[in-house]
């Protein structure tokens, strides 16, 4: 059975190779090949899942060792896979949602002449992401980690002719690279500490080393997670990443890739358990990002950017949960999965709206669309309810668990974290309601596009609506399905470990409190955007609004400090290289030339001056000889 694992990766990889090397002759069928191979991967995943359910919790871990990747004295990196419950969860999410989004893209990218390459990139992404979650050692994980980074780079910059897209892609890659420093240093630390970096031995022997080492490793892993999962301070790329086609935003920048950071932390649970300080930092990062993303989400008028902010915030929840340790891991993953459903659904919905509105993204130019695109409205609505945590829908369960766990952390920490999560829930309700109202309710505020014609909103084709429906179903029922009989908990517990935290206040109270902030958030949104008409041109807004629109100036900070500073640095170094380092060399040559020119003058053509030099020379020679004897 385990021999199938490689096929999980191989199928989409094959697709990528075929599509990218196939050339124009595949333009006709390219999208079908791509979708098919993604589906194949999903099928294999399901098969393995069924097989895994058939086993007892102990031997649910499958491994497949292909060959030794990098064999060097004392340094063994295997091309080996490990499939346990955690990986399996991701496999299903990735290949499942991935397949759906392939289907969606068939319709969405219909009019793009480079659709074949788009599907090639998508397949490449799926392959890399599966490699990431299936790797059995950190180096191979790094391989997948960078692979998804590449895919993300290619897809964000898919419309390269737009400079903004190209820039966004570059930015995403660079920021991720900063995170990668963390990952590689973490791997080096593991190598120097344990002499290996395969999951099993490392995680098994964390007890043998000092807490300091573990903290260092943990923090480095966190840095990596921040880069990939757009957590503060490395979050700046996610907003720009929305330059990519919407299916990309849905798959990579909502459902799967950005959650890799969570996977990394949960996977390294043992390390973090041994390093409380690292865990604290993780929770702090999660909390900050949670609020950061939420606030940004409130102010954006670009529907995708608003959703991006929301994604950031939701991942903040997961990271926070992961930082809580055994009480949080499971819920982090659970929220990750449910989030995968509803956020993907929301993005696809947004894509469908843009599809109908001539690619208009400014929500202030939407309004009253519910009549025109009912399916989109319905699915988007369900996704909305799910994310704000409407009782009974997926978001309700997963988020509630995280809030409880936060309180259960105990002590002031617990209260602070709990409070933050609650507040976040409220803000989430606010900005999602805002999106909902601006897009589907109120009066039409449609504006003529560049071509000068008013948009004619219409429902999207089946190939696009179908995935939206499926995802909507997921966002409705997934949570309940996981929660009934604590299925998900039992499923993951063997891998991540679990201990039940007991919050200072009862679970009911927490839920109630959640409901309250939820209602408040919705109410505020309604008063601001529901009751009175919305201006097409955004008002100047309060200081906070303006700050939030500009991502709380964090980008400007980067620009001024890093970009400008870097430019100055490079410029001065180029100057240094040319005038100092090279100057010294040329200077030496020049000085020899000058000396030569001066010495030449001695050769003045007069025989008698030559005689003088001879005479002088002789005298010196004699003097020197005598001197030699004297001393």
């Amino acid at each position: 059975m385990e021999n199938l694992i490689a096929l999980l990766v191989a199928a989409p990889l094959l697709g990528a190779v075929v599509l990218l090397c196939g050339g124009r002759r595949l333009d006709k069928v390219g999208h079908w090949i791509g979708t098919l191979l993604a589906a194949v991967s999903f099928g294999i995943g399901v098969a393995l899942f069924a097989d895994m359910l058939g086993r007892t919790a102990e031997d649910r871990t499958l491994t497949q060792n292909l060959y030794t990747w990098i064999p060097v004295e004392g340094f063994q990196a295997d091309m080996a896979f490990q499939l346990d419950q955690l990986s399996m969860t991701f496999v299903l999410l990735i290949s499942g949602v991935g397949t759906l989004i392939h289907v969606y893209s068939i319709g969405y990218m219909e009019h793009d002449e480079r659709r074949r390459r788009f599907f090639g990139y998508l397949n490449l992404f799926v392959a890399a992401m599966l490699l990431l979650v299936l790797a059995d050692n950190y180096l191979l994980l790094y391989f997948g980690w960078e692979g998804v980074g590449l895919a993300s780079y290619l897809l964000i910059g898919f419309w390269q002719h737009k400079p903004s897209a190209a820039t966004a892609a570059k930015k995403a890659f660079l920021v991720n690279r900063v995170g990668d420093i963390g990952l590689s240093i973490a791997i080096m630390l593991m190598f120097t500490t344990f002499g290996t970096f395969a999951f099993e031995p490392v995680l098994a022997s964390v007890g043998e080393t000092s807490e300091g080492t573990l903290t260092a490793i943990g923090l480095m892993l966190l840095l990596a997670a921040c880069g990939k999962s757009a957590q503060v301070p490395l979050q700046s790329w996610l907003g720009d990443a929305m330059e990519g086609p919407t299916p990309v935003s849905a798959l990579i920048h909502a459902a799967t890739m950005v959650t890799a950071g969570v996977y990394l932390i949960v996977r390294s649970a043992a390390i973090f358990n041994g390093a409380p300080d690292a865990q604290l930092v993780v929770t702090v990062v999660g909390a900050v990002t949670l609020l950061f993303g939420a606030i940004v989400g409130c102010a954006k008028d670009d529907i995708k950017k608003a959703l991006a902010g929301s994604t950031m915030s939701q991942i903040g929840y997961m990271i926070l949960a992961a930082g809580l340790g055994p009480i949080g891991y499971v819920f982090a993953i659970m929220h990750l999965v449910t989030h995968g459903f509803f956020k993907a659904g929301l993005f696809l919905g947004a894509g469908s709206v843009m599809h109908g509105m001539n690619d208009e993204v400014d929500m202030r130019k939407y309004g009253g669309l519910r009549k025109y695109m009912p399916v989109t409205y319905a699915t988007f609505g369900l996704g909305y309810l799910a994310i704000i945590g409407f009782p009974g829908l997926s978001g309700f369960f997963s988020k509630d668990m995280i809030i409880e766990a936060a309180f259960a952390k105990g002590g002031t920490e617990g209260w602070i974290l709990g409070g933050v999560t609650l507040l976040g829930a409220g803000i989430t309700a606010f900005y999602m309601t805002r999106v909902m109202l601006l897009t589907f309710f109120g009066e039409k505020r449609w504006q003529p596009d560049a071509g000068g014609e008013l948009p004619h909103p219409h429902e999207s084709p089946k190939s696009m609506t179908l995935p939206m429906v499926i995802l909507a179903l997921g966002s409705v029922f997934a949570g309940a399905f996981f929660e009934i009989g604590e299925r998900f908990l039992k499923w993951l517990e063997p891998v991540t470990g679990y201990e039940h935290g007991n919050p200072p206040v009862s679970a009911m109270t927490v839920t109630a409190a959640t409901m309250v902030v939820l209602v408040i958030g919705i109410a505020i949104a309604w008063t601001m955007y529901g009751r009175k008409p919305v201006p097409v041109v955004a008002p100047r807004g309060s200081l906070l609004t303006r700050a939030a629109r500009k991502d709380l100036y964090q980008d400007d900070f980067n620009h001024v400090v890093l970009v400008r500073g870097g430019e100055h640095l490079t410029r001065s170094l180029v100057y240094l290289d040319h005038s100092v380092v090279d100057g010294v060399v040329n200077g030496t040559a020049a000085s020899v030339g000058g000396l030569s020119g001066r010495l030449r003058k001695l050769q003045n053509g007069y025989a008698r001056s030559y005689a003088v030099s001879m005479f002088g020379g002789t005298v010196v020679l004699i003097a020197a000889t005598l001197l030699m004897r004297a001393v």
């Binding site: 003045n604 053509g605 025989a607 005689a611 005479f615």
Partner: protein, 99 residues
């Protein structure tokens, strides 16, 4: 009289000749200064030969004279041909090649 004094005289002559070469312009005079130096050498040879009481030095002196004569032949030939082309025997005028 101490034969060493002859050596002092020789050294003196030699130096005079040498300085003459350095300060005079006319090629012929220059050349005569060189001859003076050679003769200073001869004097030294003879004096030494006397000191050591063997004849080598005196023989060498004869050789030197012959050589000097040969030098005169060659030298004058060259100097004269130079003089005929430039109408000047000043060595300082012969400075086409420099630097």
């Amino acid at each position: 009289m101490n034969p060493v004094n002859y050596l002092y005289l020789a050294a003196l002559l030699f130096t005079i000749g040498g300085v003459g070469v350095l300060i005079r312009k006319n090629a012929i005079v220059l050349f005569m200064c060189v001859e003076l130096m050679l003769n200073a050498c001869n004097l030294a040879f003879v004096a030494f030969s006397r000191m050591h009481g063997n004849l080598d030095g005196q023989i060498i002196a004869f050789f030197t004279m012959v050589v000097a004569a040969a030098e005169v032949v060659v030298g004058l030939a060259i100097i004269v041909s130079l003089f005929r082309t430039r109408h000047s025997a000043s060595v300082d005028d012969a400075s086409l090649m420099k630097l």
